[in-house]
């Protein structure tokens, strides 16, 4: 994964490289064209001067022939040859020659030449003027070098700018991202994006804010709905329960009718429990419980275990407890009671007769384990209404409640299966 600016930097660098690479031949062609144009001009001037100079000497033909011979010997850059017929027109050419005086064999020089017609003493001569031109390779090399330097300056510049831009320009974006990362729908904390003068980010923030507001509103109304629905159900459930109680007292009730009524009663008790737990869950989620009081967790645990003693005995469960005294925690004692109750009852319910349960409490953790046969799916375990066993007398909400209570208190509940034991561990983060 690369960040956005790195990606664009790569594209820009490639584009710059292509442009610079293309600029090298065009610069070369331009420079070479200027060179040759200037040299042609220069050669013409030289030719004119030579013609004029020779004519001004006003020497006879013999002397002229001698002078031309001499000239041709000492002036390597020009050559005068007698021509019977005048040339139809001047010609320009470029040639390459080895430098006969250079120490190295392979030194080749480039020359720009002009073949022109001149008239000395009214006789036609062909004058060849040649001037040394910078070689193509050298020009290309120099231009390429300069271009490369500029290219490097550009890329380094881009890179530095990029870093500064990504820090400055993208700062509001990163701020938004950070806020979103820490956002939790159930935490009820308001989200507040940083003000920005970048249109795109402002638009992003506005859209996100709208989206979040909508999510929060939906979530809240859903929670309220759960709470209201469970609350509203209490009364009809109460009426049903009471009517059944009255029905059971009827003198003319047959045994068959009694059993039907009792089955209804059982189902009703169960639905009342589910409803009660749903309501409790909704209330915890709606943060309706104060959890700042100091609770004696150890006392609470001992009390609850005493209360459940008959159940341990009845199932012939071997109880092994290691409870440290004076475990004081900040929390809600009613909810802590629900937590302890649910975990212990859960253990009792799922331990086979003759099995074992271990309860451990220290200042940092509350652990309860019971003997079992195979591990349970920890992903489903705390999910509402996920059926983990064939036994369906529970409300399906006990462990969800445990998890919610832990979340409210900032505790951490985990499940593991070790040595044929289901282990539920509640780690208290803040002990006093």
């Amino acid at each position: 994964m690369k960040n956005l600016l790195q990606k664009s930097l790569k594209q820009i660098t490639i584009y710059a490289f292509i442009v610079f690479a293309l600029s090298i031949p065009s610069y070369f062609l331009l420079v070479d064209w200027i060179w040759l144009k200037e040299l042609d001009e220069n050669n013409h001037l030289i030719a004119e001067r030579i013609e004029n100079e020779f004519n001004e000497q006003r020497i006879n033909d013999e002397k002229l022939a001698e002078s031309i011979k001499f000239w041709n010997e000492i002036q390597p850059s020009s050559k005068i040859v007698y021509a019977g017929q005048p040339l139809l027109k001047d010609s320009l050419y470029t040639t390459r020659r080895k430098n006969p005086y250079a120490s190295r064999e392979d030194v080749i020089d480039r020359f720009r030449g002009l073949k022109s017609n001149i008239k000395i003493n009214n006789r036609n001569y062909v004058l060849v003027v040649e001037t040394n031109v910078e070689e193509t390779e050298e020009t290309v090399a120099y231009i390429a070098m300069a271009t490369l330097i500029f290219f490097l300056i550009l890329v380094i510049g881009f890179w530095i700018l990029n870093r500064r831009l990504s820090r400055k320009l993208w700062q509001p974006f990163r701020d938004t991202l950070l806020q979103l990362k820490s956002f939790q729908l159930n935490s009820q904390a308001q989200i507040d994006f940083q003000q920005t003068d970048t249109i795109e980010f402002a638009e992003l923030n506005a859209t996100l804010e709208k989206l979040l507001q909508h999510s929060i509103a939906t979530y809240t109304s859903q929670k309220e709905f759960t709470e209201n629905a469970s609350h509203e159900l209490q009364t009809p459930l109460a009426i049903l329960k009471n009517k059944l109680d009255i029905l059971l007292q009827g003198d003319d009730l047959t045994e068959r009718q009694y059993h039907i009524a009792e089955e209804m009663n059982r189902a009703l008790i169960r639905s009342a429990r589910i409803n009660k737990n749903l309501l409790l869950l909704a209330k915890i989620e709606n943060s309706q419980f104060d959890h700042s009081a100091l609770i004696g967790f150890d006392t609470l645990l001992v009390q609850i275990m005493d209360g459940l003693q008959p159940h341990f005995k009845e199932k012939n469960i071997n109880l092994d407890s290691d409870i440290q005294p004076d475990v004081a925690l900040q929390g809600n004692s009613g909810l802590a009671e629900v937590l302890i109750n649910n975990l212990i009852i859960n253990a009792i319910r799922h331990t086979l007769p003759g099995g074992a349960i271990r309860v451990g409490l220290s200042k940092s953790r509350f652990e309860i384990s019971n003997s079992g046969i195979q591990a349970l799916d920890p992903g489903l375990l705390f999910t509402r209404f996920s059926k983990m066993s064939a036994d369906n007398s529970g409300s399906g909400l006990g462990l969800s409640l445990v998890q919610e209570i832990c979340r409210l208190h900032g505790w951490q509940v985990t499940y593991s299966f070790e040595n044929k034991e289901h282990v539920f561990l509640v780690a208290f983060s803040a002990t006093i």
Binding site: I239, D245, N341, S393
Partner: protein
């Protein structure tokens, strides 16, 4: 014995009144806050069943008014509200008990029975039925003046039976009573059976008549 049922849900109030009338209680119903205030102003009740959420006022205000006038009526709050705050608040102002809807009528009956006994017999609160004697304060039981040792649950069960004399108590109702308020998930019926069996055995072993009768195969009834 006069009981005032302050409850806006007519069907519920009717059921409660019907069930309690069989216990020779005189029941009156008030379905609004105003009606309730008028009634407590004029009459005294042995027990008031108070619903907190009323259409025209908060039931806790009625409780405050009772305490302000220094009335001795026993108050049991019956509320769909499960919030622990409400319970504590209600009890602080002076409610004697708190019952969360939905509840079983035998549970309510047992609570009313205990409350009235507490209010009426301040010093010696002893229930007698022939050879059986139960001291509610000391939480002791004796048969023919000889004390018998009952566990906490057994004693609790005994009081529940006494409070629901001649009533059919189903296993599931008893299980719910025994497992308490928070104990979710444990409606173990064998558990009820074991407790009732132990209680019966301890009573008959001490020479007590068998008052607990099995009805319809799985239900129980205290006869006396």
């Amino acid at each position: 014995m006069k009981i005032l049922i302050i409850e806006d849900e007519k069907e519920l109030a009717k059921s409660i009144a019907e069930y309690l009338s069989a216990e020779k209680y005189l029941c009156e119903i008030a379905s609004t806050f105003t009606e309730a205030m008028n009634k407590i102003d004029v009459f005294n009740y042995d027990c008031i069943l108070l619903d907190i959420t009323l259409p025209d006022g908060n039931g806790l205000k009625i409780l405050e008014e009772l305490k302000r006038e220094n009335k001795q009526d026993g108050v049991i709050i019956i509320s769909a509200k499960n919030a622990l705050d409400d319970r504590i608040k209600g009890l602080q102002i002076g409610a004697d008990d708190y019952l969360t809807k939905p509840f079983h009528l035998p549970e309510l009956t047992a609570r009313i029975y205990s409350l009235i006994r507490r209010k009426q017999f301040n010093n010696s609160n002893t229930i007698k039925q022939d050879e059986l004697e139960i001291d509610l304060w000391a939480k002791t039981t004796s048969v023919n003046s000889k004390p018998i040792a009952l566990t906490k649950k057994e004693f609790d069960l005994l009081i529940y039976f006494i409070g629901n004399k001649n009533r059919v108590l189903s296993k599931s109702t008893l299980a719910e009573h025994l497992s308490g308020d928070f104990a979710d998930m444990l409606d173990n019926h064998d558990f009820v059976y074991a407790h009732v069996k132990n209680l019966k055995r301890k009573l008959t072993d001490a020479g007590c008549e068998q008052y607990i009768k099995t009805v319809y195969g799985t239900g129980y009834k205290w006869e006396g």
